[in-house]
């Protein structure tokens, strides 16, 4: 499993890809940060919420994470390296996990760059550390779930651009599930509203960002990651069987 993980990481870090992604992510994060500072009033107290910043960042996620995951399996098929991967002694499950961990490593690299903003704030003022750590935990799990989703979409197609576009559409739809559930039309049917709400990630992230970690939210994100990875495994394994 480790050679595949290493190969994947090399494909990210031996090219400008991971660095460009991290830079873009930091640029977008700094935009939110500067907007937060710009909104400060003239009072003596300067207070802004990192939570709000994370919320804006989530919107950027939808554009960045599918770009990160689009090549995971689609490029292997396009370049014809999928056959080599399939015939390797490593099992499909290990291939999926190795690729997932490689994507997670890049994602952590992207997130690590953003730590500079709370550090700047801490030097000049005060940061509620417990809340910030919770927000980071929340954003990590949300991102990990989206990575697993992006990998599944990538496993379906051989065109990485199509994988990215489908990924963006699906992630965008998932982001607004709770808004859709709160519409007056859906609110007429409490059972449907409750059902839709159960799949919404944003309200779960709200708790993390507010500094409240609930076991049910952790379970939701972990379950979603596991289910999506198993589905990816099934898709790859099915293709292997169809090839014979």
């Amino acid at each position: 499993m480790f050679p595949i993980y290493k190969k994947e990481l090399q494909s990210f870090f031996y090219t400008p890809f991971a660095y460009a992604m991290a830079m873009l992510f930091m640029l977008l994060f700094s935009l939110s940060f500067s907007t937060g500072i710009a909104k400060l009033d003239n009072s003596h107290t300067w207070a802004f919420s990192f939570t709000e910043m994370f919320y804006s960042v989530i919107l950027y996620f939808i554009f960045l994470l599918p770009i990160l995951t689009m090549r995971t399996f689609a490029d292997e098929r396009k370049n014809g390296t999928e056959v080599l991967l399939m015939t390797s002694p490593v099992s499909t499950g290990r291939i999926v996990i190795a690729k997932f961990l490689a994507n997670i490593t890049v994602y952590l690299f992207m997130l690590a760059g953003t730590v500079i903003f709370p550090i700047i704030t801490a030097i000049k003022g005060e940061v509620v550390m417990s809340q910030l750590i919770c927000a980071y935990i929340g954003i990590f799990f949300w991102g990990a779930m989206y990575i697993a989703l992006g990998m599944l979409i990538s496993a379906f197609t051989e065109n990485s651009i199509i994988a990215a576009i489908i990924g963006e559409v699906v992630m965008f739809a998932l982001l607004f599930v709770d808004d859709f559930a709160n519409t007056p039309f859906i609110s007429q049917y409490p059972a449907i509203k409750k059902f839709l709400y159960a799949f919404a990630a944003q309200p779960r992230f709200s708790y993390f960002s507010e500094g409240f970690i609930r076991l049910s939210d952790l379970t939701f994100f972990l379950s979603a990651i596991i289910v999506l990875l198993i589905w990816t495994y099934i898709v790859i394994e099915k293709r292997r069987w169809n090839r014979g």
Partner: protein, 190 residues
């Protein structure tokens, strides 16, 4: 070769689809069970998602008295609201309703005008949407929605709902309303 094939699952055709659904079906009850026995880790500096020991003690000390708590808003709508700052209030009320001596009712005053009227037959407290009404020992106290969030010395909005509910319960269970005295001083010029 045949032995090796037997070990692997045949994931061709409809079986793959059934397996995918099965995986989802396994995880749904797990999530439901954990949601039912949910546990939270309150990392906020003011512990605003956890009931204060003082509040718990107050309610337990008055276990023999029935405290009626009315929330003039649907509690579930509070949870699904886009306003994150309302989540502490949802958790305070949700924890309070677990007490045996607290009779909790949440309702939309627009849909149940009779109940709203019965809370204030003399028109003294004038309950409004999202207010919290506490009744015990024949005393009724209102916690106004406008006071649930209060600005601290630095001008930052802080959640004060639990303290307000706590003091309202304390007043109601004591059985007597605090008396406010107005002193008028007359100064005679020499």
């Amino acid at each position: 070769m045949e032995k090796q094939k037997k070990k692997k699952l045949d994931l061709s055709g409809a079986f793959a689809f059934i397996l995918a659904i099965l995986v989802l079906v396994i995880f749904i009850p797990i999530n439901l069970i954990i949601s039912y026995y949910d546990k939270g880790f309150d990392m906020t500096p003011s512990k605003k998602y956890t009931l204060d020991d003082k509040t718990v003690k107050l309610i337990n000390d008055n276990a023999d008295k029935e405290i009626e708590l009315y929330f003039l808003y649907e509690l579930e709508d509070l949870r699904t609201s886009k306003r994150n700052d309302l989540l502490p209030l949802y958790h305070t009320l949700n924890q309070l309703k677990e007490f045996d001596n607290i009779k909790f009712t949440s309702f939309d005053p627009n849909e149940n005008a009779t109940l709203t009227k019965s809370l204030d037959p003399e028109g003294v407290i004038a309950p409004e949407m999202s207010d919290i009404i506490i009744r015990c020992n024949g005393i009724t106290k209102k916690v106004s929605q406008y006071k649930v969030f209060q600005q601290d010395a630095q001008g930052i909005n802080e959640y004060a709902g639990e303290q307000l509910i706590d003091s309202a319960i304390a007043t109601c269970v004591s059985g007597s309303l605090p008396t406010v005295y107005f002193l008028t001083v007359m100064v005679k010029r020499p």
